[in-house]
Amino acid sequence: MTIRFKMTKRLRDFVLTDLMRTHPFAAERVGFLSCKPAASLGGLIILAAAYHPVADEDYLPDHWVGAMMGPNAIREALQFAYNHPASMFHIHLHNHRGVPAFSTTDLGESAKFVPDFFNVQPNLPHGALILSRDSCVGRCWYRSTEPPVWISRIIFIGSPMKLIQSP
């Protein structure tokens, strides 16, 4: 299945600005994008609708990862997905230029909490994205029973438009 992820440049810039803010103790910030999917002939399109930053007080001190979300951060994201209904994509920043890559920690941590969204929205895809200063990469869980797949094309809509093919 071919998966495309689209978001406006305006929203991307907003997310980037938020994720670059320093936190009192966490080494990095994280957030969620609420998204709406649509079927296409070639597969699936995920359209980002809004950004939900994790509140300062919802980080936990942790020396092993850059940012550890507390239970309230996950609970709020789950509640939003349930109420609206929305596909939820976790997002964080690797603060460099060029195509970012999921680290072993990123792969492991996202595999722990992303499938939880199927408990509240079992019929919508969910996933995780890593933003860099000028690029992005992402993985999508289409069903809770299947392993995630790489998002094949990420598009930032704006001027200029940015098309990022999966590496």
């Binding site: 689209k6 399109i45 359209l47 919508l124 809509i157 704006g158 001027s159 098309l163």
Partner: protein, 267 residues
């Protein structure tokens, strides 16, 4: 061979050839404006085209339909076939998906497009295309031309507008209004053929392609004008004065959250 073909547009950037060949573009309406755009995008190197028009070539189209011939009138060739022939003659490797009917018959073909060009005659058609484009976060470029009678003379005018999700829309720009839609609905049966000539279509199509190129492979860093007006009598093309008012405003007609397919479910 490929390197030679695009050698003289290499100033568009090192990756421009790859960006353009990966681009999927829709052209809705393959008449006077759309046929020009199809031809230019084929030359530029766009890789995939989705083209839709329910009409066939008629005698009255030959004054402006690029690529159409007298034989097409005789054979009642669909306009999409003329456009496909034109695109393939320039770029045999182009992927062309032709819809010889209204695009609404196969809307899913448009969802994956990166940019949609609207070259339709009616306000309702523009409104429907823009709504679809906004819902699936697709940039929409619209062109329109008109010939107005001014006393004993005529005024040729038109515009090319870029409607990007998150930015001002055709309603913000005043190109769509409730009055225009009502007026069009009221006059629908009486509406005859509006005057159309090839050169203003060519100017507006070129302007639309220029907006597209600045969007996907910018060759300078000046702000992209989202509304360009054309005065055919003074032979001038200019960024609209309306931009000063609307360019920094948030669109109030389309909400960022109203995207996607509301009924989507994984099966």
């Amino acid at each position: 061979m490929t390197a030679n073909r695009f050698q003289r547009q290499s100033f568009l950037g090192e990756r421009s050839e790859a960006i353009l060949s990966n681009c999927r573009v829709a052209i809705m309406g393959l008449g006077g404006g759309g046929s020009h755009i199809a031809q230019q995008l084929a030359h530029i190197g766009v890789g995939t085209f989705v083209i839709a028009d329910p009409d066939i070539v008629e005698e009255s189209n030959l004054n402006r339909l690029v690529g159409a011939t007298a034989a097409d009138v005789e054979n009642a060739t669909p306009k999409v076939d003329v456009a496909e022939r034109l695109i393939r003659a320039v770029n045999p490797n182009a992927n062309v998906i032709a819809i010889p009917e209204r695009w609404q018959a196969k809307p899913e073909l448009l969802r994956e497009c990166d940019v949609i060009f609207g070259c339709v005659d009616h306000y309702t058609g523009r409104d429907e295309l823009e709504r679809m484009a906004r819902r699936f976060l697709i940039s929409y470029i619209d062109i329109g031309m008109d010939v107005h009678r001014l006393g004993k003379h005529y005024l040729i005018s038109g515009q090319a507008a870029l409607s990007m999700p998150g930015e001002p829309c055709l309603w913000c720009m005043g190109l769509l209004t409730e009055d225009l839609l009502k007026q069009e609905a009221a006059n629908y049966r009486e509406a005859g053929d509006r005057p159309q000539v090839i050169w203003p279509n060519g100017v507006l199509a070129s302007t639309a392609v220029s907006l597209f190129m600045q969007l996907v492979t910018p060759w300078h860093d000046k702000l992209l004008p989202i509304l360009v007006e054309y005065d055919g009598n003074s032979h001038s093309v200019f960024s609209s004065n309306k931009l000063a008012i609307i360019s920094h405003t948030q669109c109030r007609h389309y909400k960022d959250t109203e995207v996607g397919d509301s009924f989507f479910k994984t099966t």
